[in-house]
C-alpha cells in the first residue's frame, strides 16, 4: 500500500519527460509564437518534400500529416495572447493545409472528411455531451440532410426528376439552411415520443430510429421512387465554383511553382473545404454560446439530476427537444455538404456503425467539451482514413521490395515492447513474491535484475538471427484486414488509461477523477 502511494511522486512517466520541454516552450509567451510558426513551416516543408515513389512514403506521410492537422490544437494549448492564437490557427487552416492539399489532393480529401466528421461530432456532443441524452441513431439526421440535397439534384429517375422538381446547383447554399430546418424538425419528431425515456432505454429507441431512417432510404423506391433504394442516388450536383478560387490556385501555382495536376478538381475541393470551414465555425460559435447560457446550464442540470432539474423549474420537455433539434440541425447542414461532395448518396453510408463511430469520436476527444469533440473527430478520422491504411500500405511496400528489417532494429523493437510487457508482468508476479522476501527493497532489486537479464537475453538472441523478412509476414495478418481490430484495441486502451478523453473538459475530468477515487475508496474499504 505504501509503495503504491509513494510511486506517483517519485516516478515521472516517460511521456511526461518527453512532453515537459515542449510544454515549457508552449508556456513561454515569448518563445511560443516563433516556435509554433517554425513548427508549422517545418511540418509543411517535410510534407512537400515527400515523394510518392519513395517506398517509405506511407509511413512518412502518416507520421508527418497528423502533426499538421493537429497543429491548431497545439496552438490553442499554448499560453499566448488570443490574437496570436487566432492568427496562427487561421494560418494553419488557410495557408498550410490548403498548400499541402494543392500539392497532393488526397490530403485535401482527408481534410474535408475530417471537417465533415468534426461537424457531426460537435452536433452529437450537444445531445450526448451537454444534455446527457445517449443518441445511437444520430446518423439519421445526417442522412436526412444528405438525401434532401441528393433527391432534389440527382438525375436518377426519381419522383423529383419525373415531376421536374430538380433544382440547379446554385441552390446549394439555400439547401444547407433547408437541411438545418428539416433535420431539426426530424430531431423534434424523434424527441417527442422518447422524452420520458432515459439512459439505456433512450439509447435503444434512438438506435431504432436510426435504423428506421436507413431502412426507409432502402425501401422508398416503390411504388413511388423517392430514394432509388439501395442503389442510391448518383450524379448529385456540386456547387459552382466561384471564379476567385481558380484565380488563387493559379497565382499560387505561378509564385510557388507547385505542380498542379488537376486544377478543376482542386478548385472544387477548395470550395468544399471553405464551405466546411465556414459551417464548422458557425457550429462552434453556436455551441459555445449555447453552452454558456441558461440553456446550457439547464442541459447540464438535466444531465446531472433530472428530478432536481425539473423541481428547480427547468422544463424537461422543452430543453430536451431543444437539444435534439440543435444536434440534429448541425448534422443536417453537414449532410447537404456531404451529398454534394460525394456526389453519390446511398443507405450504406448511414449505418449504425457510422453512429457509433461518431460517438467514439466524442468520447475519445473528451465528452462535453467542444475542443474535445473536434480533437476526437480529427484523431479518429486520421486513424481510420490515414494512419491505419498507410500502415498496411507500408507493409505491402516492404513486401514488394523484399525488405529485410535488420537484426538490431528487431532487437530494439522486441526489447522495448517485450520489455514493457515483462516489466508489467513481473510487477504483478512480484506482489506474490514479495511475501517470501519480506524486504520490499530487496525484492525490488531482484525484480530489476531479473527483468534486465530477460530483456538482454531477448536482445542478444535476436541479434544472432538474420532479421525479419517482410515477405514472411503472414497474409492473414495483413493490417488492412485488422484495421478495425487495431482501432478497437486503441479505444479499449484509451478508456482504460484515459477515461475522460484526450482533451477532457475540466468539469468532466473532475467528475471522472472523483468517480475513480470513490471506486478506489470503495475497493479499499471492501478489502479492509
Amino acid at each position: 500500500m505504501t509503495t503504491a502511494q509513494s510511486t506517483p511522486t517519485i516516478k515521472i512517466s516517460l511521456m511526461g519527460r518527453i512532453m515537459a520541454p515542449i510544454r515549457a516552450v508552449l508556456d513561454n509567451p515569448v518563445l511560443a509564437v516563433p516556435a509554433l510558426i517554425v513548427y508549422m513551416i517545418a511540418v509543411t516543408l517535410i510534407l512537400l518534400g515527400l515523394n510518392r515513389s519513395d517506398p517509405l512514403f506511407p509511413l512518412k506521410s502518416s507520421l508527418a500529416f497528423p502533426p499538421l492537422v493537429l497543429s491548431p490544437f497545439i496552438v490553442l494549448s499554448a499560453k499566448i495572447d488570443w490574437r496570436f492564437k487566432g492568427l496562427l490557427v487561421l494560418a494553419a487552416l488557410f495557408i498550410f493545409l490548403p498548400l499541402i492539399g494543392m500539392y497532393d489532393s488526397s490530403y485535401f480529401e482527408l481534410v474535408i472528411q475530417i471537417c465533415i466528421f468534426s461537424g457531426l461530432a460537435l452536433g452529437l456532443n450537444i445531445v450526448v455531451g451537454f444534455a446527457g441524452l445517449l443518441d445511437l441513431g444520430y446518423v439519421a439526421f445526417f442522412a436526412v440532410g444528405a438525401y434532401l440535397w441528393a433527391m432534389f439534384t440527382s438525375p436518377v429517375d426519381t419522383y423529383f426528376k419525373v415531376n421536374n422538381m430538380l433544382v440547379s446547383a446554385n441552390y446549394f447554399y439555400l439547401f444547407i439552411f433547408l437541411g438545418v430546418a428539416v433535420a431539426a424538425t426530424g430531431g423534434i419528431l424523434l424527441g417527442l415520443p422518447v422524452l420520458r425515456l432515459r439512459g439505456d432505454y433512450l439509447a435503444i429507441v434512438t438506435l431504432g430510429f436510426g435504423e428506421v431512417i436507413r431502412v426507409l432510404a432502402v425501401n422508398f423506391n416503390s411504388p413511388t421512387n423517392f430514394t432509388n433504394g439501395s442503389q442510391g442516388l448518383d450524379g448529385v450536383l456540386r456547387p459552382t465554383v466561384p471564379p476567385f478560387i481558380p484565380d488563387i490556385i493559379m497565382r499560387v501555382d505561378q509564385t510557388l511553382g507547385i505542380p498542379i495536376s488537376n486544377a478543376n478538381t482542386l478548385a472544387q475541393q477548395m470550395l468544399f473545404y471553405l464551405v466546411a470551414i465556414v459551417i464548422i465555425a458557425c457550429i462552434i460559435v453556436i455551441a459555445r454560446r449555447l453552452d454558456d447560457s441558461p440553456i446550457g446550464r439547464a442541459w447540464t442540470a438535466i444531465r446531472e439530476d433530472e428530478v432536481a432539474a425539473i423541481a428547480m423549474g427547468v422544463p424537461l420537455v422543452r430543453m430536451k427537444l431543444m437539444a435534439f433539434a440543435m444536434g440534429a440541425s448541425f448534422a443536417g447542414a453537414i449532410g447537404v455538404l456531404y451529398a454534394a461532395k460525394q456526389s453519390f448518396v446511398s443507405p450504406e453510408s448511414f449505418s449504425l456503425n457510422q453512429s457509433i463511430g461518431i460517438l467514439a469520436m466524442v468520447i475519445v476527444g473528451g465528452i462535453g467539451g467542444i475542443r474535445g469533440a473536434l480533437f476526437g473527430a480529427c484523431v479518429v478520422t486520421l486513424l481510420n482514413l490515414q494512419v491505419l491504411k498507410n500502415l498496411s500500405l507500408q507493409i505491402n511496400n516492404f513486401k514488394n521490395i523484399d525488405a529485410v528489417m535488420p537484426p538490431w532494429l528487431v532487437a530494439v523493437i522486441l526489447a522495448v515492447v517485450g520489455g514493457w510487457i515483462l516489466w508489467k508482468l513481473l510487477k504483478a508476479l512480484w506482489s506474490f513474491a514479495n511475501r517470501w522476501f519480506g524486504n520490499a527493497k530487496q525484492a525490488e532489486q531482484v525484480r530489476v535484475v531479473v527483468w534486465g537479464v530477460l530483456v538482454a537475453a531477448i536482445a542478444l538472441l535476436t541479434l544472432q538471427g538474420s532479421g525479419f523478412r517482410f515477405d514472411d509476414w503472414p497474409a492473414q495478418l495483413e493490417p488492412a484486414k485488422y484495421e478495425r481490430l487495431v482501432f478497437g484495441i486503441l479505444l479499449i486502451m484509451m478508456m482504460i488509461f484515459r477515461p475522460s478523453g484526450l482533451l477532457p473538459e475540466p468539469r468532466r475530468k473532475m467528475e471522472m477523477t472523483a468517480a475513480k477515487a470513490e471506486a478506489e475508496d470503495g475497493a479499499i474499504g471492501g478489502g479492509g
Binding site: 446550464r297 428530478v307 432536481a308 428547480m312
Partner: protein
C-alpha cells in the same frame, strides 16, 4: 388568508396508501413543520405538493390557484420551491451555477437570443450572476461560488440547496429534513438561516424535520403525520402534550406510562 391550502389529499401506490385524506393549511409568512415517524408519508406529501406525484383525490390550492395537474417546473414557476431529503445538487456544476439553474423559471430562455446574444441577453446573464452571488452571501457562502459542489462539506451543500431553492424567488419554500446529519452547532446555525429566510426575504417556510430541538425551536405550527394520516396539529406546546403524538413516536405503553407519570 392561507397561502397554501391542501384539502383531503390522498395518494395510493398499489395497495399502500402513502398519504391518506390529509388536510392542511399554511399561513402566509409562517414557519410550519411536518413531523412523523419514518415512513409516515411526509416526503410523499412534499412530492404531491411539488407536482412530482399527482394526488388521487383532493385539492391543492396555492395563492388562490390550483396546483393539481401542474408539472414540477410549473409549480416552481408558480412560486413554490423545495430542497431534497438526500441532497440533490448538480454535483459537477459550480456552486454559483447551481444557484443560476434555480433561476430558470424566471428567465427569458430563447434559442434565438442565446445564439445571437441580442435582446438583452448579456444584461440578463449579468443580473443572474449578481443575484446568485447575492443569494450565496445570504446563506453564508460568500466567496465560494466557483467551487465544484461535490467538493463542499455537507453542511455547505445544504446551504447551496437552500440558495438554489430561493433563486426562483418563491413565496413558499419546502425544506425536506434540512438539518439531517448536522451536529447541534450546525443545526443551530441552520435554524438561524431558516428564520432569516422568512424574516428578511418574506418567504413562507414549511419543513419536514426529525430534530425536535429544531422543530420546537422555530415552527409556529406543527402537523403530525403517521401512516399517511394527520394525527395531530397545533402549536409546538399543544403537540408536545398530545397523547397520540407521544404514542406514535414511543409506542402505546410509553404513552401510558408518561401519562401516569404526569398524573403522579
Amino acid at each position: 388568508m392561507a397561502l397554501l391550502d391542501v384539502r383531503n389529499v390522498t395518494k395510493r401506490f398499489g395497495g399502500l396508501t402513502a398519504v391518506s385524506d390529509v388536510t392542511m393549511s399554511v399561513a402566509e409568512g409562517s414557519i410550519s413543520a411536518i413531523i412523523g415517524p419514518n415512513g409516515a408519508g411526509k416526503t410523499t406529501f412534499f412530492n404531491l405538493l411539488t407536482g412530482i406525484y399527482v394526488p388521487d383525490v383532493g385539492s391543492i390550492n396555492f395563492g388562490g390557484r390550483s396546483l393539481i395537474g401542474l408539472r414540477p417546473d410549473q409549480v416552481n414557476a408558480a412560486g413554490m420551491s423545495r430542497t431534497f431529503q438526500n441532497i440533490r445538487l448538480f454535483p459537477g456544476m459550480t456552486v454559483v451555477e447551481n444557484v443560476m439553474v434555480g433561476m430558470h423559471s424566471r428567465l427569458n430562455v430563447s434559442l434565438v437570443r442565446t445564439i445571437t446574444r441580442l435582446g438583452g441577453f448579456n444584461k440578463q446573464e449579468k443580473r443572474v450572476r449578481e443575484r446568485a452571488s447575492d443569494l450565496l452571501n445570504f446563506v453564508g457562502l460568500s466567496g465560494q461560488g466557483d467551487e465544484i459542489c461535490r467538493n463542499l462539506p455537507y453542511g455547505a451543500q445544504r446551504r447551496v440547496e437552500i440558495a438554489r431553492a430561493m433563486a426562483s424567488d418563491p413565496k413558499l419554500i419546502l425544506l425536506d429534513e434540512p438539518t439531517a446529519g448536522m451536529n447541534p452547532n450546525e443545526s443551530k446555525d441552520a435554524m438561524e438561516l431558516f428564520r432569516k429566510v422568512r424574516d428578511e426575504r418574506g418567504v413562507t417556510v414549511v419543513l419536514i424535520e426529525h430534530d425536535m430541538k429544531v422543530v420546537m425551536g422555530i415552527s409556529e405550527h406543527i402537523t403530525v403525520l403517521n401512516f399517511g394520516q394527520t394525527i395531530a396539529e397545533g402549536t409546538p406546546k399543544e403537540i408536545q402534550s398530545n397523547e397520540k403524538v407521544v404514542e406514535a413516536y414511543l409506542g402505546r405503553h410509553a404513552a401510558g406510562s408518561s401519562r401516569a407519570e404526569g398524573e403522579a
